[in-house]
Each structure stands twice: as C-alpha cells, then as structure tokens.
Amino acid sequence: MSVPNEENMSPHTQLSSHFLGELLDSIIVDVASECHRIAKLGLDRNSEEEEEELRLSAQARVTVAAPSHSCETNGKYVVDIFGQTHPTVANEVFDCMNCGRPIVAGRFAPHLEKCMGKGRKARVKATRSSTAAQNRYSRGSPVSAYSPYSNSTGTHKLSNGTYNHTVEEYSNGTCEEP
C-alpha cells in the first residue's frame, strides 16, 4: 500500500488518513502485546515440532508417490512377517456357536446372519445407551459431514439403520481391495 502524498491531500483526507494510521498503530500494538505475553509466558505452541512433523509427512508422500517405490500397499502379499501365506478366503473351519455346524471362517459372517435370523429382513431397534449421549457435542449442521452411527437424537438415522449404500454380495466373502 503506497503512502499517500500528504501535500496533495485535502485537510479532510489528511485527517482521515491520520485517524486510519492511529487505528492501525493501535491494532498493531494490540497484537504485539498479546504475542509478547504469550512469548514471555511460554504459552506459544511448539511450532518447531509441528513443522518437523509436516516436513516428514510431505517427504513421505513424495517418497511413496515415486514410481520407484515398491507398491507395498497396492500389490499382493508374498509372505507375511512370519513367512506365512494366506488364501483370499480364510479356510479355518470351526463350529458355529449358534447352530453347531462346521463353517469355513471366510463365510462365517453371511452364515451367521441367516443363522441368527439377522440381516436386512429382521432389523431390531437400536439399543440406546449412555454412550450414545456423547454424540451431542459433535459440531455441524444437519447437512454437514457426520459419522453414520445411531445416536440418541435419531435425527440422522437412515431407514436401514446403517449408512446408505448399495450392498454387494461378494462371491468370495471378503472385502474388496480397490
């Protein structure tokens, strides 16, 4: 912002300019005295540590994005840290604790759903409990982001009880890796 040329200004403008200058000075001293207090009393946040964390994160993202970086997260695993391999569908077999039949682990959840008579066809009302009250503090207007858990106010509860999405029955019964 350029300093106005005082000689060319009308007295009115000069006065306005003078007042503005004083206001600015006052505001600057306000901020300076706040910062002075915070610095003297040691209340300022440890920005060095925070900056270091930011730097490390930025560096990490660059490293991971580099084409030479081995795709640990995307590729399939060869062996785990114990030297084991595991099939896509867990093949441990155990007895269902509801009906007693032997079930393959990787298909246990869909079995149990039918076995217990649960699932979309047999919804029961959500249990209200004291911990549901902790949602009260959450910020946000009704249309903002929030987590799809059932809360005591029930205003955001969707008809099927969990978040609204298309259910895909996976033939192999595991979560889909994108």
């Binding site: 040691g42 930011l54 997260t73 029961v124 902790q134 929030y146």
Partner: protein, 612 residues
C-alpha cells in the same frame, strides 16, 4: 502412583522454576499454573521487584475499581471513570497507541517512539519508585525504565477477577468434576516362597523371538469384517487395555461362573461355543469383555496362524442387534458399539453410569473416556453457560475449504476476544492436518441467528458463541475423521478422500479447558478450570501415536487396514496378513481413526515389553 518422571523441556525460552516472590493469591487452591511443569512468569525486573517490596500488592487492588471490561470477554482497560479520556500530562495527546498511567502516582504519559518517551521521562524525573506503569488500553504492566512489558501474578489475578465479576458464569453439571483421586504410594512387589512356587508351576514360557514383537497375529476376515478386524487390532495393542486383560483383570472363566450362578438373563443357546479358543461349557452368559479376554489370550499366545474372531462377532451381533448384518459396516460405529457393549456387560453389577466421565465404570471407559467442556457465551452480556459431557473419542470434521498457501502465524492462542477465526490450513500450504482439525474443534464458533441461545441473564434469545475444550484427557485419545458424508436432503452419501496429515507425537495442551479459558481471558496468569497440579494432570498432555485405522476405496466398496507402531516399528495389519512397513507408508496413508496414548504409558523403541 506418585513417582517422579523427568520430562524433556520443549520450551524455547529457559524459564526459571520459581518466581522471586510468592504472593498470597485470592484462590485458596494452588495458584501455580503449570504447563509441563514450568512456572510461566519470568522473574521481575529490578524495578518491579523494588515496587513490590515497597508496596506489597495493595496498588493492584486499587486498580480493580478502574478496570473496565467490554463484554463479552473484551479487552480490559483502565479508566478512573467510564467516560475518562486519558491524556498525556506532558503533551496532552490522547490518541497515541500507547498511553501509560503510573501505578504510583497515576500520572498519565504517552510512549510513542521515535518521539522522546514522556513515560520514560516521568520515571526518570520521579525516580525512584515511579518506573512501573499500566497500559491504560490493555491493562498490561509496563516498566518505563526497562521499556518493556512486565508480568505480575497478582496484577493478572486482579484483572481476571474483575473480568469474572462482570459476567456471571453458570456451570450446568460440574458437581462431580472435582473428584479427588486417591494417590497410592508405589510399592515394589516380590514374590514370597509360596508365590514363587505358584508362579513357577503355572507359567509357560512364551516363545519371544527377538525381532518379532509380542502379540502380533493376523485376524481372519469372516466375510466383510475388515471393519471389525481393523478396530480389534488397534484395541489389542492399546497399552492400558492390553495390560488390563493380560494381567487377568477380567478373567473369563471366573466371570462366566459368576454369571452362571446368577440370573438367567441373556443366557445364550445351549450349544458349545468353539471359536477356536473354547470358552467351553453350556449356558454361556453374553459378555463382550470375556470374548475380549479370550482374544487377548489367543493373540498373545505366540501362535502365528491367524485368529478367527468368530465368537466375538457372534457376541457383538447379539449386543448390537441393529448392526448385525453381513454388510460392510463403519469401523468407527463398531468401535463405539463395542465399547458400549463392554460397559453394559461389565458395569451392571456395580451400577456406575458413564455420565460422570471418570471412567470408574468399566475398563473401556477407564481407557477411552475423557470429559469435554462446552461453553455457550451470550454476545450481548457475556453470560456463559457451561456443560460437561463424557466422550470416548473426538469426531473431527475435515475442513470444507482448502486454505491459501500464504504463510501466516496461527492465531490459536491469541483469541482474546473470542472471535478470532483462524485460517489454520493457510500455514500448511493447503494441507489438512489433525492439529488444524483440533484448532477448528476448539475455536469459538458463532452460532447462526437461527440458533439463538436463551441467555439467562438477558432473559431473551441472543446470538452466542460456542466453544469446545477438553476438560479431562483420556488415557487413550481416539480421533475419528468424518470422511463419510450423508445428506438426507440430497439422498446421497459420499466419502471425503482428502489427505489428512497427522503427527506421530501430539501435545494436547492447547486444547485443554484451562488453556482455552486462559486465552479467553487474555492469557492471564491465573488458575483456570482444570489447572489442578495433581499428578494426573501435570504430565498428561503429551501423546504418542500407536495405531492408525485407514480406509481405502469407495464408500460402499472399501477396505479397512490398521497400522500398528510397536517398538517404533510400523506393521500393517490387513486381515490375516501382517507385514512390516516403512513409516512413510503410514504418514502418507488416509487416516480414518487415529489412536494416541499418553506418553507416560507408551513404550518406545529399545524397551522390551516382556519382563526379563
């Protein structure tokens, strides 16, 4: 326990431990406010020390009558009467940015470099004894000889008390907050002969391999259950929770026996359960803690073959009937539901509700429960209504906008007037950060004109400011990032994929109620809510990250994975697959739930977790 731990000092300025004077304070309780153990007030300059020794604290008492506070929580200023316009005695100016009133004789002088300082001239002319003055517009002490602002505990106390007197504060449910915790002396224990025999006869040696951390074991996916596996892995390595179960604090055999002899309520089908680890027996009482106990035993047994948490799933579906389905679930929803399940089943006998937030009800709340403070301030008169609520985690919004890349100082601690709107992301080049989310969470928020709050003092609905802060930190902080958006109006859901930076070490001190309140009162030195110096408060604001639950993919076709930090090495837990990863992978991952434990409870690299 009361044992001393030396913490590293992170403060940039070397502040002394003890101030020169130990003045009596209006508060009868301990008046030191410690941030990581330091007394914040620097030693007084010789002029202030001299002034104090000559006048004690009386001059500051007199100023209380002259303190004018603009509501709500406005700046404090000094005026002998409300309409006074202070003028410099030497030059008559009244508009200089810095005007000082001598504390000894009330003479008013200006100080406006590069002009010669009339304030300094007054001090020199009247020396000794007239060096200390007060900034009339800011209620800050200024030493005219040293030409610097100086700080005094009693002066600050006078300002705060005057501010507090100007508005009334209402605490809605704070009765149970000041519970004194019984401090137990630490006594080392050694087994006697009989106990030694017991230990030797009943112990089996764990196969502890040097480079393999304890308790790492894959969890089989039972059919879209990665949401459950990811949270379970985090909980299996939550230090206080792990210690609780591994030290047999909830013995599943004993618990089931107790319940069997008790009522019939909730007895589960007569079939023998066999989740691979055999709770055994018929007529099992539903108890999620028992199933957790079985899981801990299995996972820490040294067995490497992945464990199937089938019994746990079965029990959980009985507890949370509305969530019992084969569909992909939300990991956070499971987390909340699970803690609730442990609470209900464990505390039934002891009738301790969670509402107090002390965590005495059950282990789940003992570990995760903190207390949040919510202040709603009337913008017209300053009346504040305060409520306390327990919480087991903190859900954070991702910022709706990307900040500019201009570098600017974060104004977090500077919001004296409660209206600072900090553009926290602007200093990070547009990256969302966990710290930024916490800043947003605790900043004063102006409630819209459609959300006017009924002010008890004004007796009408007024516009108000709402501010959250943390009254009590839990042992383990779980931060949940709201990545799943639902709009019932637009009938759609979407996932927010934006990257969020999160630190490996986190200091929660700026978000404590004491810090937030302090900044609201201009950062005066004064004991604020939560400033007690009992051991549980002093050293407990530093946290270390130990688990990250990430979500990749789309909202309805995604995958949860957990990264665990053990002995400063990161491991990826992807259902049955446990692999070692570089910390870069974790830093760049899309965090959904981040678990931090108090530094005191965290084992760092080099410390063996198994007692030798």
């Amino acid at each position: 326990m009361s044992f001393k731990i030396q913490l590293p000092c992170y403060q940039p300025l070397p502040l002394p431990q003890i101030s020169v004077h130990s003045p009596p304070c209006h508060q009868k309780a301990n008046h030191h406010h410690h941030i990581n153990g330091h007394d914040p007030i620097p030693p007084p300059c010789p002029h202030l020390a001299d002034f104090r020794s000559r006048n004690g604290t009386k001059p500051f008492h007199l100023f209380q009558n002259c303190l004018r506070i603009k509501p709500p929580h406005g700046r404090a200023s000094i005026r002998r009467d409300p309409s006074e316009v202070p003028r410099c005695g030497a030059c008559g100016v009244s508009s200089a940015p810095r005007i000082y009133a001598c504390v000894t004789c009330a003479a008013i002088s200006c100080h406006a470099p590069p002009e010669p300082s009339h304030a300094a001239a007054h001090a020199a002319a009247m020396a000794p004894g007239h060096e200390i003055s007060v900034d009339v517009d800011r209620a800050e002490l200024f030493c005219c000889a040293c030409r610097d602002y100086v700080y005094d505990r009693d002066f600050d106390a006078a300002v705060v008390l005057s501010s507090k007197a100007n508005y009334i504060h209402s605490n809605v449910n704070s009765d149970n907050l000041r519970k004194k915790r019984r401090i137990v002396e630490y006594r080392p224990w050694l087994p006697d002969i009989h106990e030694r025999v017991l230990v030797n006869n009943n112990s089996s040696v764990l196969s502890f391999v040097e480079d393999r951390p304890w308790g790492l074991r894959g969890l089989n996916n039972l059919g879209n259950t990665c949401f459950m596996n990811s949270v379970l892995q985090a909980l299996l390595h939550t230090p206080p929770l792990r210690n609780y179960f591994l030290s047999d604090k909830h013995n599943r055999y004993y618990c089931q026996q107790q319940k069997k002899s008790g009522n019939d309520n909730g007895v589960v089908g007569g079939k023998r359960s066999n989740g691979g680890d055999g709770n055994g027996g018929k007529g099992l009482r539903l108890c999620l803690a028992c199933d957790m106990d079985a899981m801990f035993s299995a996972v820490f047994s040294g067995e490497l073959v992945p464990y199937s948490p089938a019994k746990f799933l079965y029990s959980w579906w009985q507890h949370a009937a509305n969530l019992a389905s084969y569909e992909q679930q939300d990991a956070h929803e499971f987390f909340i539901s699970m803690l609730d399940g442990i609470h209900e089943k464990v505390e039934k006998d002891r009738h301790k509700p969670h509402s107090l937030g002390h965590g005495d009800c059950c282990i789940a709340h003992r570990v995760f429960s903190g207390i949040l403070r919510s202040d709603v301030m009337c913008t017209a008169c300053g009346f504040t209504s305060t409520t306390y609520d327990p919480c087991v985690d903190i859900s954070l919004d991702l910022e709706p906008y990307q900040g500019s890349s201009a570098k600017s100082v974060s104004l977090k601690t500077h919001s004296c007037n409660g209206e600072a709107d900090c553009k926290n992301s602007s200093q990070n080049g547009g990256i969302s950060t966990l710290i930024g989310c916490l800043d947003r969470f605790t900043r004063p928020e102006r409630l819209g004109s459609d959300q006017k709050f009924f002010c008890q003092q004004c007796q009408v609905r007024q516009e108000s400011l709402k501010q959250m802060s943390i009254r009590k930190l839990p042992l383990v902080s779980c931060f949940h990032i709201k990545r799943f958006e639902h709009s019932s109006i637009r009938k759609m859901s979407r996932k927010v994929d934006r990257y969020l930076q999160f630190p490996f070490s986190l200091d929660m001190a700026p978000y404590l109620s004491s810090s937030i309140l302090r900044s609201r009162f201009g950062n005066r030195v004064f004991p604020f809510d939560g400033d007690e110096t009992d051991a549980s408060n002093e050293m407990s604001s530093e946290f270390e990250l130990f688990a990250v639950v990430t979500h990749t993919g789309k909202l309805d076709a995604g995958h949860y994975v957990t990264y665990l930090r053990l002995s400063n090495q990161w491991y990826k837990c992807d259902d049955s697959w446990i692999t070692r990863v570089n910390e870069n992978i974790v830093r760049s991952a899309q965090g959904y739930m981040m678990f931090y434990v108090q530094k005191m409870l965290y084992y760092k690299a080099g410390e063996k977790q198994v007692a030798q």
